[in-house]
Structure formats: C-alpha cells, structure tokens
C-alpha cells in the first residue's frame, strides 16, 4: 500500500474543507439551505433511476442467478474491508479493526472473497466509512446534499465518500490489470441493492406525495441511526397535543 503525496494532500485538504461545512444557527432537524438546487438534482436522479438504473437492476436480478449476485456483493464487501479497517483505526475502534481484519483473512482464505464464510461463522459484516470517522472526530453533519448519481448525502458524508475513494487501500494494492474489479463489483452491488429493495424504492419514488422531502427525511433518520446519534427531534405525538 503506497500512498502518493498527492493523495494524502487531497485527503487532508478535504478534511480541512470541513471547516467550511455549513452549520445552522440553531439546532434544526433538517438543514437544507440548498433545497432549490437539490430538488433539480433529485429530478435528474429520479429520471436516471427510471430510465437506466431500475431497468438494468431488474435485468441484473432476473438474469443472473442469486449465487452469482451474492458472490459479487460479497466481493464488494471484501475489497472494501481494508478501507473499513483504515477507518476503524482512524476512529480508535481497535476491536472493530481486529474484527474486520479477521473477516478479511477468513474470507480471503475460504472463498477468495466470493463467499462470506466469516458471516456464516458468526463474524458479521461491520462496514465503516470516512463520513463516520469525521463524525467520531466531532465534525458537524453540515447541510443536506443530493448529488447526481450518488443520491442523498450531507456535506460531511460527501467529503467522507471522496476521501474513501482516494484512500481506498485496495486500489493501491491491486495490479493495474485488475484495477477495474473494485468499481465493477461496487456497480454490481448497487444493482443488487436496487433489485433487492425494489418495491420499497419504487414506492418511495413513485407513490410519495413529495419524493424529494421523503427521501431526505428517510436518509437523514437512517444515517443518524447508523452513526448512533441521539435523536433530539423524536416523534412524540402526546407532547404535540399537550402543547396547545
């Protein structure tokens, strides 16, 4: 694993870019100062899904046998594991780092990354990312952002995604001739997720009265849950009624 000076430079630069993360004056549940622009991107993403991702995902799910699709998704997790370990270390979670190192070794030896033998043996998936690392380091969430192709995110998570891409150890470890494996299995895994949660995503995008607002709400709630953040805006219908 050799990191070029320029890569480290980019990562450090981006991390410092966080100082520029937009923060609201007071704590609000949804901070979306770029709503107008985000809504345009959302319309683009929805039509991209309708015209390309959804039909391709359907074909992917129906043509390829489940075992092959599972193999692709296992491989995606396998090639991402070095990046999980790196983030676990950044976060000071050495137990998670050891857990993921064990998964990497186990799945590499038993199944060449195509089988998730570790999960079968009780050593479950434990993904980690740089957005999470930034959260652990105390960076604010920033504004809500919907990006083309990538979908819903926040300022903090957008920086996290970019850092994860440029620091991915696998990309540096692989020989140039097989460098496509990592983005290839990532694309396959995206299609698999779109296929597996097809009905849920369809109902979110097609049946919601306002699919932009609903996507934003669901993304933020789920992401904050993943990060273990306390919800200071809990749904409390009784308090609403007593307020009057």
């Amino acid at each position: 694993m050799k990191y070029g000076v320029s890569t480290v430079g980019v990562a450090v630069g981006l991390a410092f870019g966080l100082a520029a993360c937009t923060t609201p004056d007071e704590s609000v549940e949804i901070f979306d100062p770029y709503e107008e622009r985000n809504r345009k991107v959302h319309d683009f993403n929805v039509s991209l899904d309708r015209n390309l991702v959804r039909p391709v995902a359907r074909a992917y799910g129906e043509v390829l046998p489940g075992e092959i699709r599972a193999g692709v998704s296992n491989m995606k997790d396998f090639v991402s594991t070095p990046s999980y370990i790196l983030n676990d270390v950044f976060q000071g979670s050495f137990e998670d780092a050891a857990h993921n190192t064990l998964r990497l070794a186990f799945n590499g030896v038993f199944g060449f990354g195509l089988l998730d033998s570790a999960s079968a043996a009780g050593v479950e998936r434990r993904p980690s990312d740089f957005g999470q690392t930034l959260h652990v380091w105390g960076a604010p969430e920033g504004a809500y952002i919907e990006s083309p192709f990538i979908g819903p995110s926040t300022e903090r998570d957008t920086i996290g995604t970019v850092v994860d891409i440029v620091t991915n150890p696998t990309a540096y470890a692989l020989d140039r001739s097989i460098i496509w494996v990592s983005p290839g299995v990532t694309a396959g895994d995206v299609l698999q997720q779109r296929y597996e949660f097809g009905d849920t995503v369809d109902s979110l995008l097609d049946d919601s009265a306002d699919s932009y607002a609903q996507t934003r709400s669901i993304y933020l709630q789920n992401r904050r849950f993943e990060l273990g953040q306390d919800d200071e805006f809990e749904f409390d219908p009784y308090e609403d009624l007593f307020d009057e």
């Binding site: 306002d210 607002a213 609903q214 709630q221 809990e234 749904f235 009624l241 007593f242 009057e244």
Partner: protein, 198 residues
C-alpha cells in the same frame, strides 16, 4: 460564559416541559412487552394466514386500531393544520389515515411471509417504553424494528414504529404535509386523496 448560560436556559426549559407534560411513564416494561408481543403475534398470524391481499389489509387495519394510538398519531401527523380542521374533519382524517396506513404498510408486510419478528427486550425511555424487536425475513439480513409504547392517552398503545432508525410517525408527517400542499391546503380534498392512496 454566554454558552453556559444558554445551556442553563435550555435545561431549565426542558425541565419545565417535562414537568408540564406530566410524570414519567407509569407503564411497566412487562406491560409494554406484552402489548408488542400481542401485536407481533397478530401480525405473524395474518401474514401466514394465506388470505387475499384485500382481506389482509382489513386485518392490519383492525390490528392498528386495536393496539395503536390512532387518534393521537393522526392528530400529530396532521400537524399545526389540525387547528383549522373541524371536529368532523379531524375524525374523517383519522379514519382515512388508519385505512391508508393498513394498505401502505400491509404491502410491506407481504415481504414478511415466511419470516418472523422476535421481541428482544425493552428500554425505559422516561415518558414511554421502547420494545426492541428484530425482523428476520427471507433473503435479507435481520433488521431492527422498535415499537414505542405509552399509556399517556389512558390505555397502553404503541404510538410509533421505528425501523432502522426511520420513524413511521415522522415519515407520515412529511407525507401528510406534502399531500396537503398538493391539495393547496384543502383538508377535505387531502382526505379524499388519502383514501385513494397507500
């Protein structure tokens, strides 16, 4: 200094609200767990009954009305707009909302066929009890489903279901708000729209 005094003000405010809203939940964790166990048993029975989709929606609506605090949830998701709704409109909305929820989430429960929900444990969250369950469905990893239970309306009822951190109450509040916007703020039109949805 400024920061500390602001925090003090917030804490005092929070303490006042907590006091004004009444004492902590009198509901025991055993009662909350028993309620959720009943809900889960009833849902498991319906999804494995082999009934038609339409018949299942009716059953889900019955479960939601029996164990869920439908009136309170409906009033809350309607938001500030309920203040300008008449009593009749509020009742019509709560009724339409129950049917809509049963259809919308009934469709999701179809994916539960052959799976099961297991009650795991409870947590006292102060003014309500939280019952943690795990949904184990075929072909996907187990995921967390939390039922929030309260007796603040006089009976033990669940008032929110939280799936992987996503609150049904919050989701529907966003949805109803958007639906009202779509109907240019007209409550009757929104209720009619809601009856067609889900």
């Amino acid at each position: 200094m400024n920061r500390i005094s602001r925090r003090m003000a917030l804490m005092t405010g929070a303490a006042f609200v907590a006091h004004a809203a009444g004492p902590a939940s009198a509901l025991s964790d055993a009662q909350a767990r028993a309620l959720v166990q009943q809900v889960v048993d009833d849902i498991n029975r319906v999804i494995n009954s082999g009934k038609s989709e339409r018949a299942m929606y009716t059953d889900f609506e019955r479960i939601f009305r029996r164990y869920g605090d439908v009136g309170v949830i409906a009033a809350s998701v309607l938001g500030p707009d309920r203040r300008r709704a008449s009593q009749a409109q509020q009742r019509a909305f709560a009724d339409a909302f129950a049917g809509y929820m049963a259809r919308k989430y009934g469709k999701r429960f179809r994916e539960f066929i052959g799976g099961r929900i297991d009650v795991q444990g409870t947590r006292n969250a102060g003014r309500y009890q939280e019952v943690q369950t795990v949904a184990r469905l075929q072909g996907s990893s187990p995921f967390s489903v939390v039922f929030r239970v309260s007796d603040r309306s006089g009976q033990d009822r669940f008032f929110d279901i939280v799936i992987e951190g996503i609150s049904l109450g919050k989701t529907e509040r966003t949805e109803i708000g958007a639906l009202l916007d779509r109907n240019r703020g007209n409550i009757d039109a929104m209720i009619a729209d809601l009856r067609q949805r889900g």
